[in-house]
Subunit: 542 residues, 2 copies
């Protein structure tokens, strides 16, 4: 016997309809590629999205077909989020930090029909336009005045022309909530990139869960600046969350340097931001060097990689910005855990609270997780036992687009490739990527712990710990370090810094100083490249 | 083309599974009918709910069958919420404040198979046991030691015996999320009571939306005491919300007097409560008379009827308890709006903020609303135009159990029977129940405004405004008032109190003082009874 409640599919378009109707005056502020600051209301965004939906239909885009973007965080990108998915087509966000060969591979694999791009990426598009197989239409996300005067791209269209050709009399179609809404490829370090195909249902449930007080805690009183790019896992869902709660959105466009970001934080009175640790390093360095502060920012979400404890303390103690440590992955839409306190933590000491905050946090409602040992059995939640982390929930991938990579699930659980502990309160902490664990004499050494200690040294800008070959122990930790500008630091000083902070046998066997650590397309340190660089490195202990 | 995300139905049992796994140590505290304070953890509650699910199966309860309760807010009632719905059966919460004849009618209409009841209600059960047609099993929600020594009820079972007979090795079944989960009859003042049949899907979506920062804003750091009964619209969903977010729950059982409630607020360090205005009057009177305060309570949700502005100010100014005004109805699961501030209200004056808080608030995400005029056309959101309020959303009824009352919808919208305004920011304010509006010379007078003014007078305990017959104007307002104990107040003094607070022609034509105003089964003033009582009342203006 079924309940007798209204049947309404969970559709992404409903977010924009709600935002227009209940938060019509709320603003979306964007730093444009064209250089200026642009402002429009949710009401205007909704009308323009409807016009773009009609333009897509006029271009012949059909439900289920893929429409690609290669774009920064901005209002036109947001309009496409709603126009494409809301129409029943699939928004495919391409990552401009990938090599053009990878972009071509991914666009072909996805069978993209249309490609929208920011002017920044015109050279990339010109390089690939003749190579991609299925894209018939290229659209520059700009107005007529800023269109490139000459281009090799045949029949290049102008975004604002498409909008101008339509009126906004359009009603979003209703369809099955399990329909695909968007597509994002994982930047896997091995094998071909694999596409994660989100549905309207998964996106909507993720949006509800992400906005909860124990997750990202977003309200209509927030001003949200997502530094995390809209081309990577939908900017952690924030363009959807903002419509659900009616929060003001501030998009940084291409201005991701410390100066541009800080200026926007201050002028737009941003209260909440989100990004990977490597982005914050640039911002904090700028703020520190110029003796600035954050007047309105109260919280920042840090994920993508573990937040070094030194960064966490810096944000909170120097700038009064609370750090919300979170964890997820492309296959998880992306949110899995958020490190919000439980009632029991309220009266703890500051150091005890920092120890909690260093963890990636608790499962947000809808996600379940477990850690398993080598035998596949679940390990205890004691904060000590460490095993591979498995997850499940309605916004977690059950497979990849076109079956790439086969069935990833283990008994219905998705294996994350992360190694983690979970404590008795359900707080999960990543100790390593499974492939980055250092296996020393049959025991595991977690590279993240060692990196966090190194990062706490005042002269260290960035540190990666990788396994180096050792004749006796098989693998031993090698620390690869970037010094802060003008900082003095020797190998011996840094190794001495580990004394008393960790078991003696975990201490790295060697340190090498480099000018830069290679970062991947999503801002993560590429340890596979480091392992390749240092595969012949001879440890002094060998 | 469908997305490739895990398919998991939205089931109520998942809330308890999450609470056990991620908040196992969190407590449920209950004042028992037996007289003492009982404590158990979510872990214990989950195990006992599984045992009860097995007991229900052993009693022969099948999926879709109705299992009734007649019970206070307490841990056993909560176990039944999950055991019954989680099993695939339908939890039917009966309202003990109804007349036994109505209880019999409703139990028969619902075809209840089993009835669980708190000992308080033994006399009612004894009176109706032989009359109800379908109930085969009666269970007293107590332990063996407290079972009634002699009863007319044949084969009366004991709740703790049922639990003791089972172990907790039970896995919640998976089934269609549209399956019925629970049933609640509206206490309609005219016609037969009508059953609202919730589904697992509607309940889960409602729970997500209710916990959001712009709705009830519930987190794992909250200690929630629902005064609103679990026998009425699932205590506004709080037993579900608490499991979703891992909040501590405090159940008052039968102790709804000011002294019992205040004691529990203080000893259990309650942070958030919820109830109808009439309940708070008793509590505030007790707190005031005994010069007490609230040490930990920071917020209270007031709904069911409009919160008189005087009560709102009293809570906030005297006791530092923020009032969250909310609105909904049985047919809405029940939440429709919550009065949380937007960013623009932050810098307003206290008086301006009070004016906002007096409204029932903004639609929570998932609910849409509109007001229509007599011609059925939508009225503007200007805070002035007043019309019937219509709503729609995935947790709003599309009809009643067994088709009772026919199809209630108007073009897919549910007509609430409330008359309201909506302002440009989307804040809705109920001006009246459609049937309570006073029609004076073709113009409408909202009775709630007049009641709010009367309630602001220090000598008034309760006030209801009804239409009285007038030979010239057809209807004119008559104020029915209960004075505070020992307070002096004349008709003339009270009428003078309206001067300057409202348009002159809205001033009531007369005042009558009564000892009590009849309250319905859900704590609302029964204006239909007052109209009956005063149908021969001769206005001095007539």
């Amino acid at each position: 016997m079924n309940g007798l409640m209204m049947q309404q599919p969970l559709l992404i378009s409903s977010l924009l309809v709600h935002a227009e109707r209940h938060h019509g005056e709320q603003q979306i502020v964007s730093r444009r590629v064209e250089g200026d600051i642009h402002r429009q209301t949710f009401r205007e965004a909704a009308a323009r999205s409807r016009r773009m939906a009609k333009a897509l239909a006029a271009l012949g885009v059909k439900p289920g077909e893929r429409v690609a973007t290669l774009a920064w965080n901005g209002y036109r990108h947001m309009e496409l989020y709603y126009a494409v998915s809301g129409s029943g087509a699939v928004l495919h966000t391409l990552n401009p930090r990938l090599h053009p060969d990878q972009v071509v591979y991914i666009a072909d694999h996805a069978e993209d029909q249309v490609l929208f791009f920011d002017l920044t990426f015109l050279p990339v598009i010109e390089a690939i336009a003749a190579r991609v197989k299925t894209i018939k239409v290229f659209v520059a996300m700009t107005d007529r005045a800023h269109m490139p005067p000459a281009t090799k791209i045949q029949g290049l269209l102008c975004y604002e022309d498409l909008i101008d050709a339509q009126d906004d009399r359009f009603v979003w179609p209703s369809f099955d909530e399990n329909a695909a809404s968007s597509l994002c490829y994982t930047s896997g370090t091995t094998g071909n990139p694999k596409g994660v195909l989100y549905s309207h249902r998964s996106t909507m449930l993720h949006t509800y869960a992400a906005a909860l007080p124990d997750a990202l805690n977003c309200s209509s009183r927030d001003v949200i600046l997502p530094v995390v790019p809209m081309f990577h896992v939908n900017a952690w869902g924030l363009p959807y969350v903002a419509c659900m709660v009616g929060a003001r959105l501030v998009f940084p466009g291409p201005g991701l340097d410390g100066k541009s970001l800080h200026e926007l934080f201050e002028t737009e009175r941003v209260t909440l931001s989100a990004g990977v640790p490597t982005v914050w390093q640039g911002l904090l360095a700028y703020v520190e060097a110029n003796d600035l502060k954050f007047s309105t920012m109260r919280r920042t979400i840090i994920g993508g990689s573990a937040c070094p404890p030194a960064m966490l303390r810096g944000f909170q103690e120097k700038y009064g910005v609370h750090v919300l440590h979170a964890w997820g992955m492309t296959e998880m839409s992306p949110l899995g855990t958020a490190c919000t306190f439980k009632a029991k933590h309220t009266d703890m000491s500051q150091d005890e609270r920092y120890a909690v905050q260093a963890k990636q946090g608790r499962a947000i409602f809808g996600v379940d997780m477990k850690i398993i040992g080598d035998d596949g059995n679940e390990l205890p939640w004691d904060g000590k036992a460490s095993g591979e982390l498995l997850v499940r929930g309605p916004w977690i991938a059950a497979g990849y687009f076109k079956g790439e990579g086969g069935d990833p699930l283990i008994d219905g659980w998705f294996p994350t490739g992360d190694v983690a502990t979970i404590d008795a309160d359900g707080f999960m902490q990543i100790t390593d990527r499974a492939k980055d664990v250092i296996k020393s004499g049959g025991e595991w050494i977690g590279s993240i712990d060692l990196e966090n200690i190194a990062m706490a040294h005042p002269a260290v800008a960035m540190a990666a710990c990788i396994a180096a070959h050792h004749p006796k122990w098989d693998e031993r930790p090698l620390l690869v370090v970037v010094r802060k500008p003008a900082a003095q630091l020797t190998r011996e000083e840094l190794l001495a810094f580990f004394d008393g902070k960790i078991a003696k046998w975990w201490t790295p066997d060697d340190v090498v100083f480099v000018d830069a650590i290679p970062l991947g397309a999503t801002g993560k340190m590429q340890k596979n490249k480091l392992r390749e660089m240092f595969k012949e490195h001879k440890l002094p202990t060998a």
